[in-house]
Amino acid sequence: MMTGNQHPLVSDYLDRLRSEAHRRLSADQADELVDDIRGHLRERVAEDATESGMRNALERLGTPSELVDAAGGAQRTPATDPAPVTASNRREMAALALLVLSVVTAVAVPVAGLLLIGGLVLAFTSTRWSGTDKALAAVVYTVVGMPLLFLGGLATFTTTGASVCIQSDTRAGVPAREVCSSGGTGAAPWAAAVVALVILAILAIHVYTAVRLYRHARVPQPPG
């Protein structure tokens, strides 16, 4: 933006405000506050661009902590705030992206495995997600997720195999049993329906989990 021709005093103030706001407010609220203050200072500088004018303007604004307090920011408690690494919810978003991708790419097992592990590591170091969120992510993306999807893929494969064998059967006039035994066994319509239902249920669980994790990553961090 206008960062290039900002006075060092102003950019330093905005930097401190940005980091404090992102630590204690939701990302949206923090961005809005920083935008508003930047706009205010821009107007102010247009009126009086002297060094003393700028110092005065910053003094009258209040300290970054005061502004974040006024915005209802969570209180900083140094004891329970060891690493201000998660200034934003970027970690959670990355975790979620990796976890969801691990399911999408479940057919290519090694890739999915790497994505899964990466996603889980990020998820478990999150400060925004609760223990329940993390447990849910672990269970859904490992136990509920891939093995069943893999089975689902297998079932689809055998069903297709069966339909192919029936086609070849009618065309070539070869005894059905003989041909179908090489294709799919247990590919009855009801089995396909059960598999479809299971896959739908899994999808529903995945959508629920992803939406829940996403929403929790956007909620401002609780005080303390």
Partner: protein, 113 residues
């Protein structure tokens, strides 16, 4: 600056919110414009705190915002009173009238030394 009592801080905060609504009654204004006027009136301890207040008013649907180009520079966020905001202002006007009269009578009783 002397440290303000928490009671006075609360009082200022509640009154300030409605002063903002009252200023918007005359038409939409942008943030810096509001700050200048409230600061002039001595209602702002620190000027920056008006912005969190404005964004809270917006989240509570008491004001609505629009971006408008300014002749001199980048776009400004303008604030306007909503119907809900107008109602809240009216309610506060009534309450404030009664409240300030009562407090005044207790603080400065007539006929006593």
């Amino acid at each position: 600056m002397a440290v303000e009592s928490p009671a006075l801080t609360q009082l200022r905060r509640g009154a300030l919110e409605h002063c903002v609504l009252a200023l918007l009654e005359g038409g939409e204004r942008y943030g810096y414009d509001l700050v200048a006027e409230l600061s002039e009136a001595g209602l702002l301890a620190s000027e920056g705190t008006i912005y969190p207040l404005l964004s809270r008013l917006r989240r509570d649907d008491l004001v609505a915002t629009t971006w408008r180009e300014s002749a001199s520079g980048p776009a400004r966020r303008y604030y306007a009173l909503t119907v809900k905001g107008t109602d809240a202002l009216e309610a506060f006007r009534d309450a404030w009238g009664q409240f300030s009269t009562s407090v005044q009578q207790i603080l400065h009783p007539k006929g006593t030394s």
